[in-house]
Subunit: 754 residues, 2 copies
């Protein structure tokens, strides 16, 4: 029978040792080992399935469990997203007033049921009462009272959110995407995707968004979906007992999360592929797509937006774009890139300050303060008072004939009666100019407050605030171009494509392009960004403007620093994340990186047949290495395998308890056969079965770029370094990360794991 490392491990696992083959918290998994274990499991089930009908059914169930998990993830994350949407709607409106007919109705729902059916009156139905009206009637102090209550509600919501997070689930704060990226790359953070985190994140996300802070629900929804994924993993031992397989499910869950956040299933899959996942086998691609679709359709059947649309911002434009418009689009791209750079630098500086100074000690106070400032400053301006997604939605929309928004206050030509969806460019009325001022103020406000908001100890996503900044800037540019084109038809730049009376410029498209540019600048998404935007508009028509802005934004932002906000936060938190995109271009060799260094004590190794149990225990006590190479003898330094610290500890503990005659002076044998010893000698301890006989090795002359590549592609934990067959040293993933930081002139110790 063929015996191998993984096989041995499995034989070993059959014995009732708890926790063998698992990992400790904050450790890195070994992808090759996980894969190997899964293949073994699969092999066992396949061979058993021929034995009986029952085993066959079990094997079929096992084969289908992947699809079942995907279905469940889709259903639950779609449902949660729907519930969150509904709750946010209601609670956001609760800050301003209440529905008399049923207090659990949001403003919009309240007025649906009302009898006023004309468009203009829909917002002013009698059932919906602002707080001041309800309490004092239409008095002079009504505005002040409403203002006061708005701030009060906001403070209440955010206080609740931050308290819940602090008390029940500290991992529920932030967007979660940096941590999910790290987890998917093979790191273990226990509890990060747990049930409590799921529950608390869902509740506090509603509170945080409703409080009116400058944050979105998209990033946290990815975290929520991943928690769902983790939850359902525990139903099937195939996934719960294998950290590698579990991560496949989590990749798909991330796709489902984005899918429900934007109603963009294809964009979600590409986001998972491009942005968060590390290993993404093709099988996962297909399943992710399935999960994303199920999630999207579940959300649609809940229909939280009341329009049976799948997408968050549904838009339909009626005019094409013109080549000359690429200039403002590219300018918006530049703006997006600059905003991305500014935001990342300022936010990271502020977060670092929070970590290192007294500030970090008062998270509740910080949240309360920022909420207070946000609410006080936001209320007077109608564009910041409403929820950010409503704002974006309005900015994206083209002005139809029936539009009552201030932004659509154009001066109509009374002689013209055109169909609703083909309105020519018109001069802007006073409302538009007024709106422009308010938008400009809103832009500055959003830019500043978002920097301080992202990173606080509440759930906070970055997509919506980034898009809002871009949409405001884009709409301003769009109106400017539109008015220029209207008033200066004869300018050479407009002459060719914009005749008087034609509908040339769509300001809403500019808002959308600006939103894409800003989102791209902050997150450095590329294809997924364009695809999400494409799914929002539902046509290839506007993909070129979006692409132009996204490409420009990425180039501009990359010129100032390659890292997006998520990578920056990963680095700030010192997670051991080996970015797939970082190119390692230095000419160092494995020998420069491996431990022990020149003046260090020699490498801690075990010998195959001359170490005693006591030696091993001393070694385990004196060092904190995660594993030890096993060599033939200290003189020859010929490597025969690698043994995990955890497995070694457990095996010795177990042997001491259960195996007679194993004492401190027993010799540990890693060889195939232990020699027959006289009965007087202590019983030998055979440990070949926990020995990994196929440790990964490279020679000392291997260029580090190759080593980095191997670590990335194979997902190694450690790699042994040899020269002409002799063991020289060891390189762990953390050594690689330290070395990379050093090469980028960063102090490796200060940035890692702090």
């Amino acid at each position: 029978e063929a015996m191998n490392g993984a096989g041995n491990l499995m034989d070993f696992l059959d014995e009732p040792f708890p926790d063998v083959g698992t990992y400790e918290d904050f450790h890195t998994i070994d992808w090759l080992r996980e894969k190997s274990r899964d293949t073994d499991r699969h092999r066992k089930i396949t061979s058993k399935s021929k034995e009986s009908i029952w085993e066959l059914i079990k094997s079929l169930l096992d084969a289908w469990s992947g699809w079942v998990v995907m279905l469940l993830i889709g259903l639950l994350s779609g449902t949660l997203a729907g519930v969150i949407d509904l709750a946010v709607d209601w609670m956001t409106d609760l800050k301003e007033g209440v529905c008399l007919s049923a207090f659990w109705y949001s403003h919009e729902q309240c007025c649906w049921t009302s009898n006023e059916t004309t468009f203009d009156d829909r917002d002013k139905c009698p059932q919906w009462q602002k707080w001041a009206e309800l309490m004092t009637g239409h008095g002079a102090g009504a505005y002040v009272l409403n203002y006061f209550l708005y701030v009060l509600w906001a403070l209440l919501f955010s206080f609740l959110a931050v308290s819940l997070v602090r008390v029940f689930a500290p991992y529920a704060c932030g967007s979660g995407i940096p941590e999910i990226k790290t987890i998917l790359s093979g790191f273990i953070i226990r509890g990060y995707l747990g049930k409590w985190t799921l529950l608390i994140k869902t509740v506090t996300l509603v509170l945080a968004v409703s409080s009116g802070l400058s944050l979105g629900k998209e990033g946290p929804l990815v975290h929520v979906a991943c928690c769902c994924g983790n939850l359902f993993c525990s139903l099937f031992s195939k996934y719960s007992k294998n950290e590698g397989k579990r991560r496949e499910v989590l990749s798909a869950a991330a796709a489902a999360g984005v899918s429900v956040a934007f109603g963009a299933p294809i964009g979600g899959v590409l986001f998972s592929l491009e942005e968060v996942s590390y290993y993404f086998p093709l099988k996962t691609l297909w399943r992710s797509f399935f999960a994303a679709l199920v999630a999207a359709f579940t959300l649609r059947s809940i229909n939280p937006f009341g329009n049976s649309r799948l997408v968050l911002f549904y838009v339909e434009y009626h005019t094409p774009w013109y080549m000359a418009e690429l200039v403002p689009f590219i300018l918006l791209g530049v703006f997006g890139g600059l905003w991305g750079t500014l935001f990342i630098r300022a936010n990271i500086a502020w977060c670092r300050r929070r970590k290192t100074t007294q500030l970090g000690k008062y998270p509740v106070l910080e949240v309360i303060a920022v909420t207070g400032i946000t609410a006080v400053l936001a209320y007077p301006n109608p564009y910041t008072r409403r929820s950010t997604s409503e704002l974006i939605s309005e900015l994206f929309n083209d002005c139809g004939a029936l539009e009552s928004s201030q932004l659509c206050d154009y001066i109509n030509n009374p002689n013209m009666s055109r169909p609703v969806d083909d309105i020519p460019d018109r001069p802007a009325g006073p409302g538009v100019y007024n709106a422009l001022w308010q938008l400009a103020l809103a832009l500055i406000f959003k830019i500043v407050i978002t920097i301080f908001t992202f990173g606080m100890k509440i759930p906070s996503g970055l997509f919506i605030p980034s898009m809002a900044v871009g949409a405001i800037a884009g709409r301003i540019v769009g109106i400017a171009v539109e008015q220029m084109a209207y008033h200066h038809h004869d300018w050479i730049i407009f002459k060719n494509w914009c005749r008087p009376g034609a509908d040339c410029v769509t300001p809403g498209l500019y808002a959308m392009v600006g939103a894409a540019a800003c989102l791209g600048g902050v997150t450095r998404m590329t294809v997924s960004l364009v695809v999400i935007m494409f799914e929002l508009t539902g046509g290839l028509e506007y993909i070129v403007p979006l692409m132009a802005a996204a490409v420009t934004s990425k180039w501009v932002a990359d010129a100032f620093g390659k890292e997006g906000i998520y990578e920056s936060h990963i680095q700030l938190n010192g997670y051991p994340y080996l970015d797939v995109r970082d190119e390692f271009t230095h000419r160092t060799l494995a020998t420069d990186v491996m431990r022990p260094r020149r003046n260090d004590p020699p490498l801690a190794v075990l010998t195959q047949d001359s170490t005693t149990v006591e030696d091993v225990e001393t070694l385990i006590k004196d060092t904190d290495y995660n594993g030890f190479p096993v060599v033939v003898s200290r003189e020859s330094e010929r490597l025969i395998g690698f043994v995990q610290r955890r497995d070694l500890t457990l095996a010795i503990k177990n042997a001491r308890q259960k195996q007679d005659g194993v004492v401190s002076s027993s010799v540990v044998y890693f060889t195939e056969d232990a020699p027959q010893l006289p009965a007087s000698n202590p019983q030998p301890l055979k440990l070949r079965r926990i020995l990994n006989l196929s440790p990964f090795t490279v020679t000392d002359h291997t260029p580090m770029e190759t080593v980095v590549d191997i670590f990335r592609k194979l997902g190694l934990r450690q790699c042994l370094v040899t020269r002409s067959g002799r063991l020289l040293g060891i390189i762990t993933k953390k050594d690689v990360l330290r070395h990379m930081a050093q090469m980028m002139n960063q102090d490796p110790e200060s940035i890692m794991f702090n």
Copy 2:
């Protein structure tokens, strides 16, 4: 200075040795080495760029060359696709008649310029004359004459096509996708993507499609786009001199090819990712998307379909689908899976017959015979006479009020006057029943003839015939369901969703679902298939039916064999392709696969300081290995490096010519310093610089599943096997493939490389 294997190689490359670091035809590239070389090149350019402005500009150009290549690929492949579309249109119609106003007009173009503008007359404009009308007037024998000329033109076209392929570019035949998959996985086939292939494939593709054979242009368009990619690679040494980087460009070109074939840029990128590419870094994803978009928009500006639509089959449905319809959709999925299995088995059996019997010696005759049969059988049936893409387009379309097609011959209720796009279900008229018969015959005909057509020595794609089979089956099922629903409103299965007078069933949607199922069954595409179909319809509405059919079809087909048509053809041709999707689940170890085997002569190795030039030359002459391990000494068997046969040959040849004192008895040194020898001894030959000091090693106990994984993920050519630091043997990519074949109970020698 840090010295390493790759660095040494580069120093060596600076010397005027031609061809060092390149590969021979039909060899496998070493991805790690290519990557290492590119990093070195990049490092050199970056360090030089600080020296002068000119170097800085050169480095910027180098950084931008990737985007330039993508732009050029997009432009050229879009243009070629447009030209091919136009030429196919014209030549397909030429088989039936000619335009009198301008002979280079196709039927449709001819009638555009005519004055008859009503819908019905558009097909019967006076300028367009059938051949018989032109020659003899409307006589009784006109049908026979038209028939005869149709067959004659078809024979002429296919004869021209097969002759051109045979004489000028034998690689231009087939769909090209199996070969491109193999090339992208790292195999070298010189000339396969050459200029001649590009030219001849473009011309013969037009001829083959026009001849009316049951083949499509989609697969060959991918080949054409890859030829364009290869062409533009030669403009930039970054790509032309690095086989790894070249493959990145080719992956993007494949995406552009699918993008123009279907007008589906996102689907194209996913197709490239899922179906053809091997290594697909994220950078490539973004660039592929760019190339695919440029190609799609170039094609659109050429506007070959005359409808300014990007997509090949644009459809718009007006009714939703209902849950109960999932049953027929899933049945269509089953049909698709069965068709896929049948087609693959029958086609492979026929192709194997062609390879092994006399049949293969008369490719021209074969093409002529199949064309003759196709033309003779196709003409009488209106659904097979027209081009396959027109047929699919008609089958996909919903019957509007103005539709003149036979398929839309429903009995209208005269009392009803509904808007055009909301026609209720109606009883079928005699035309529909007639059409059903003809469609059934067309289905059988297409199924049989496609099996014999695919694999002949002309360019032939499989997408269109597969989709046609599915679309016919789907339309038949769709009409059946529609009529059942109309005549049996009261049946329990229809009761809930189909009231009398409602428009419940869209037969066109069934055709589309059937097409997706059949395409999926043959190619085993998953996400890319659904996304392409989604881009055709442009709405998420119908993604669930498509997904249901695609999933079912894949499951059914996979139950009969995991391999799609492309993988089957790769295996038939014996290309060394290591499929990313095949899971290796056997419990063999590296030691079972490595060479030498138990009774073989020992491994051919070189020693680091005791081999003479003559010994090396003898070894090169006596063996045909691609490289040799270098060990410290034969006794210790400690590995120090690996040297490529090609580099060794070139180095010795060069030394003998240029270096004084190197004779047969000179000792070859792979050590860092050659010892100082007395002048009487022959001059030593130092070859450390061609020695790869970081060869890849695994231990003999490594499970083969891990070895396979390493070969796949790192793209290795070979891997050395050691046990406790001693060199035991070597595993090459071909050994791995042989072993995998053996494990699947196939005779490894009979299937490989024949």
